[in-house]
Every structure is written in structure tokens, then in C-alpha cells.
Amino acid sequence: MSCSPFDLRDFALKELSETERQQVEAHVRGCASCREEVERLRLTEAALFALRDEEIPQRIAFVSDKIFEPAPWRRAWAAFWGSTARLGFASAAMLSAALIVFSLARPAGTLRGPVTARVNPPAAVAPVSEAEIQQRIQAAVDRAVADHEARLQKVFDERVTEIERRNEVTLLRAASELNFMQREQMALVRSSYTLPRTGNGEYK
């Protein structure tokens, strides 16, 4: 017989409240015989778990059989709302029906002819033909092109004039340099060359 405040089997089977469990734990810490009993109960439980659950050989599938399902109207309703494809098809069908009903119920003659927008031209403006418009546009384009080409030609001529002026200056400088160099060379030749003289210092 156990001296524990509560049944140790209830303790091992986890049937005690938290408070009761704590009391038993406190008792077991100081009672060797109860501690041994709790240990044996735990060993027994652990040994029982050596037997594991088996997998079920085949899944239970009887609910897929229509005969076990609820009333036909309930099945139909569940199938209808349970199927996205069917719901989509039903929505499309309802939309089509609504369009047909609308087209049939629409008042006749409302849209017999094509819709035309009426715009009154200003009275002060004289009618201008398409060819004249094109002619004016072409003239404006020609003028713009001519102006542009004239501007380009002017810039080109100015550039050419500038380049020619620069070239002339450069040529003049080059000629001047060349002239200077020739004169230097001549001076050098003259200074290095002496005519043969006679004994009394006269040129031979």
C-alpha cells in the first residue's frame, strides 16, 4: 500500500491535476518505496510502447460511394458549390443569358443608324482644298529647307575663308623661315670659304 497523498497509478497515467502532481513529486523525492513504485510504473508504460501502431492496410474510402452520401439535392448542391470549374461555367452561362435578355429587351430603333457627330464649320473660314493645303505645306517645307541650307552654306564659307587665311599666314611664315635659313646658310658658306691669295696678299 502506497503512502503517497494520491494514487501513484493516477500520477503515472497523468490523471492528476497540476497541484496534485506537485504534491506527489514532493512526496516521491523523500520516499524510497514510492519512488521505486513510480519507477516501475514508468518502466511498464515504456515497455508497452514497444508495440507501435500499424499503418492501415488500405484507406477508408467508402464516402466516395454516392450511396452513402446525403440526399441527392444536398449532393448536387455540395457538388455545385464545391467545384470551381462548374461555378465558373455557371457564371459564364448566367452572363450569356443576361446579354441575350438585354439584347431582346432593348427598345427597337434606338440604334438603327450609325452614330454621326455634327460639327458646324466656322462661317468666316473659306473652304480650302486638300491639294492647296498640301501645296502650302510643301512650300513651307521648301522654304524651311532653303533657309537651312543657306545657313549651312554661310557657315561653310566662313570656315573655308578662315582656313584659307590661316594657311596663307602659315605659308608666309614658312617662306620667311626658309628665306632666313637660306641666308644663314649662305653666310656660313661665305665665311668658311676663302679665295687663294698670293704671297703679297692679293687674290690669285
Binding site: R9, T44, A47, L51, R52, P57, R59, V63, S64, R74
Partner: protein, 188 residues
């Protein structure tokens, strides 16, 4: 929808309104546990599977009678218990069911299934369980393997909590003597 956690009580309510998919999900959650409960009290895989089918069929047909969806588990096991004992009565109508020893309880069935424990321990446990009375064994199965509380077991077995405790305590004493014998004092 598939990956969303669905509360069991919601599934039960939907199934009670005729949602087959909800009931299928309920079955998938419970079929293994119910099958193993029936396997351990019948000791026969074919019987356990047939009974599991019957249990879920009967549960589906009577789901609207379940007042409190939170009591689904003991309610389902009550059906399983009744189905099993109906089978026993059919097989041996002249016997008193209370005294009926479950037939065809094979050690191989009890030991079956993958286990991380040594096979010797599995055999010892199966042997110890076989020596229990059917009521004691069922009490052990419901408590140890299925994790029910005393009140739930009383509901399933349709008996007082005191009876449940009596069966379970007696079974535990027998199992303890078999599986966790007292150490010989003074011996190392």
C-alpha cells in the same frame, strides 16, 4: 485550403451538413488510430479493417446526432467499441460477452509494426497483454495507446469511471509484474 489548418470541430460541423470532403479529411485523421484500437482488441487485421470501415460508415450516418463536436473522439470510439462487440456476439452468440476471451489474438499481430524496441521486448509485451482479460486489455489500449481520460473511457465503454479505474489498475498490476518486476534486493 489544403495547407490551411482546419479545426476539427469545423470539419465535424461541415460533415454533419453533408460535406463529403470534410468527412474524408476527418476519416484520414482518425482512421489509423481507430484501426489500431480495433486491431488490439480483436487481434485480427482483417476484422480490424472491416470494423474500421463499418465504424466510419456508421459515424457518417449518425453525425448529426452528435450534439457536441468536442466529444467526437469518445463518440467515435464508442461506435468502434460497439461494432467490435457486435462482431464478437455474432461469432459466439452463446457466450456472455463480458466473459468473452478475444479469439485469434496472435502475438505476431500485437508485435507487428515498426518498432525501435528490441523484438524480445515486443514479444514480452504482446504476451503480457494476451494474458489480460478483454476488458482489461481494452482499458489499457484506450488509456496507454489512445490517450483517453477516465471520463472519456467511461463514455466509450458505457460504464462508471470506477469500473474503468478498477479494470485499468488491475491490468497495470499484472503488466507491471510481467514487464517491470521488483529488483532482487541486495543483488547488483
Amino acid at each position: 485550403m489544403i495547407f490551411r489548418a482546419v479545426e476539427e470541430t469545423d470539419l465535424i460541423r461541415q460533415a454533419a451538413r453533408g460535406a463529403v470532403e470534410a468527412y474524408n479529411l476527418l476519416v484520414s485523421r482518425w482512421e489509423k488510430r481507430v484501426y489500431n484500437y480495433l486491431l488490439r482488441i480483436t487481434g485480427n487485421r482483417e476484422d480490424a479493417l472491416d470494423l474500421t470501415q463499418d465504424v466510419f460508415l456508421k459515424a457518417y450516418q449518425n453525425l448529426r446526432k452528435l450534439d457536441d463536436p468536442a466529444r467526437f473522439a469518445p463518440w467515435l470510439y464508442r461506435i468502434a467499441h460497439n461494432e467490435a462487440y457486435s462482431l464478437f456476439r455474432k461469432r459466439r452468440p452463446e457466450s456472455d460477452v463480458e466473459e468473452l476471451e478475444l479469439e485469434a489474438t496472435e502475438t505476431s499481430v500485437l508485435v507487428g509494426g515498426s518498432s525501435v524496441f528490441p523484438i524480445e521486448l515486443g514479444l514480452a509485451v504482446a504476451s503480457a497483454l494476451e494474458r489480460l482479460s478483454p476488458e482489461q486489455r481494452e482499458a489499457v489500449v484506450l488509456k496507454i495507446y489512445q490517450g483517453f481520460k477516465f471520463e472519456e473511457m467511461a463514455e466509450i465503454l458505457s460504464c462508471p469511471v470506477s469500473t474503468v479505474k478498477s479494470r485499468l489498475y488491475t491490468a497495470l498490476e499484472l503488466l507491471k509484474a510481467e514487464l517491470a518486476p521488483i529488483k532482487a534486493r541486495g543483488l547488483s
